[in-house]
């Protein structure tokens, strides 16, 4: 048992560390969200082109960003897990997927609800929308693959393969508006150019993005803890945890 304890020490210490961090991120998420919504609904002015419908932007854009970003992070942790056989990083990747899938779904949903008043249709087969839909398939594929495999080690590795192969889709989503001329809006926030929209809108959007960040981190930490417990249920330290509880 002494050896096991040594080997599993890193998930164990992460478990306790994550437990300490979760409240911080949760509170930050709530506060930022409230602030963002306040700015979004009560400070930001009506858009002269789109009217009030544009207010969907405050969740559409953060959700879209998170969906892509979480996928990249997931692929990165999976890759690290595959290359160095570190169990914790694979567990984090496993924990990221559901949250990422949720944000992808939200980007699609809010986009569709925005598209109806703006473009006159719920859905078009344009490059960005299609590639975002593919992203949802990739997330679902990753989760179903892992769910279908009983052996966690194999599940981690197989999931990592699909995550890494699928990561090519993310640049396609991001640059699709540039590569193909589409209905969808181009990037209005970039590091090199000054922003094109009203500053209050931009602040609202950025604050909401930050809120989503905090929420995602908190969620991933909580889920990672659950995954750790599931996988390590036979180790001494989980037993001690129970003994103490």
């Amino acid at each position: 048992m002494a050896i096991n304890w040594f080997k599993y020490s890193s998930p164990a210490s992460f478990y306790f560390l994550a437990g300490k961090m979760i409240p911080f991120f949760s509170i930050a998420a709530v506060i930022l969200c409230l602030a963002g919504l306040y700015i979004g609904f009560f400070v930001a002015p009506t858009d002269f082109q789109q009217g009030e419908a544009y207010r969907i932007i405050f969740i559409h854009v953060p959700a879209a960003w998170m969906s892509m970003f979480l996928y990249v992070v997931m692929a990165m942790w999976s890759g690290i897990g595959l290359a160095f056989n570190t169990r914790l990083s694979s567990m984090v990747a496993t924990a990221i997927a559901p949250t990422g899938a949720m944000f992808t779904f939200l980007a699609l949903w809010t986009g569709a609800l925005w598209g109806k008043p703006m473009w006159g249709t719920w859905w078009v087969w344009d490059a960005r929308l299609t590639s975002e839909l593919i992203l949802l398939f990739l997330y679902i594929g990753f989760m179903s693959l892992q769910a279908a495999i009983d052996d966690p080690r194999r599940a981690d590795k197989a999931g990592a393969m699909i995550a890494l192969v699928g990561v090519v889709n993310v640049p396609i989503i991001y640059f699709s508006v540039k590569w193909w001329n589409t209905l969808h809006q181009g990037a209005s926030v970039s590091l090199t150019q000054s922003p094109k929209m009203a500053t209050t809108m931009l602040t609202g959007m950025l604050i909401m993005s930050l809120a989503c960040w905090m929420y995602a981190i908190a969620m991933v930490l909580i889920r990672t803890r659950a995954v750790i417990l599931e996988r390590e249920r036979h180790t001494a330290w989980v037993g001690e945890l129970q003994g103490a509880a």
């Binding site: 299609t130 593919i134 398939f137 990739l138 679902i140 594929g141 179903s144 693959l145 279908a148 495999i149 052996d151 080690r153 194999r154 590795k157 197989a158 393969m161 699909i162 192969v165 699928g166 889709n169």
Partner: protein, 219 residues
Amino acid sequence: MFLWIIQRDLLLAMRRRADVLTTLFFFIIVVSLFPLGVGPEMNMLRIMAPGVVWVAALLASMLSLGRMFSGDHLDGTLEQMLISPQSLSLLVLGKALAHWLVTGVPLVLMAPVLGIQYDLPADALLVLTASLLLGTPVLSLIGAIGAALTLGLRGGGVLVSLLVLPLYIPILIFGAGAVEASTAGLGAGAHMSLLGAFLLASLVLAPWTAAVSLRISME
């Protein structure tokens, strides 16, 4: 060695000819059903044709992926392949190629005939066949990854489609796009070279990825 694998898989396919025929027949059915569902207007059909043929090819290829490794898995041959001194990537390449010869090539040969049903002009037929010739091997190669990852899993059928489909979509878009571009008078060159690039990239990357996946699945 590489040749051995191809030869063996072809031999097996000859022995179980029904499997090969299923794929081809499925392809023909899908393509022929559409005019019935959509209506007989030739202009419509001509526009739809490349998309329909490509979607049918993609589905036919996807539905036959399950057989790529599962037979060898069940009877223990796959284990022997894993411990063969030969490179596993080469071996996977051989199997993917055999899969293509058995499922892809018949589709390519059949495509012009089906294209005629849709009243495609001769040059569009040529482009369609050429795009399938470049594209179908990519389907087999990418499919090998999915098949390797889902080896022996419950519900392998859904899973493999779920995993492989997102990766197939670019090929579909550019394959059908090539024909459309050529009929629109834009020239299929750009699309074809993209397909060629996909083929090269997947020839290099897919066998290796599938080999790694196989090792993961067999552990």
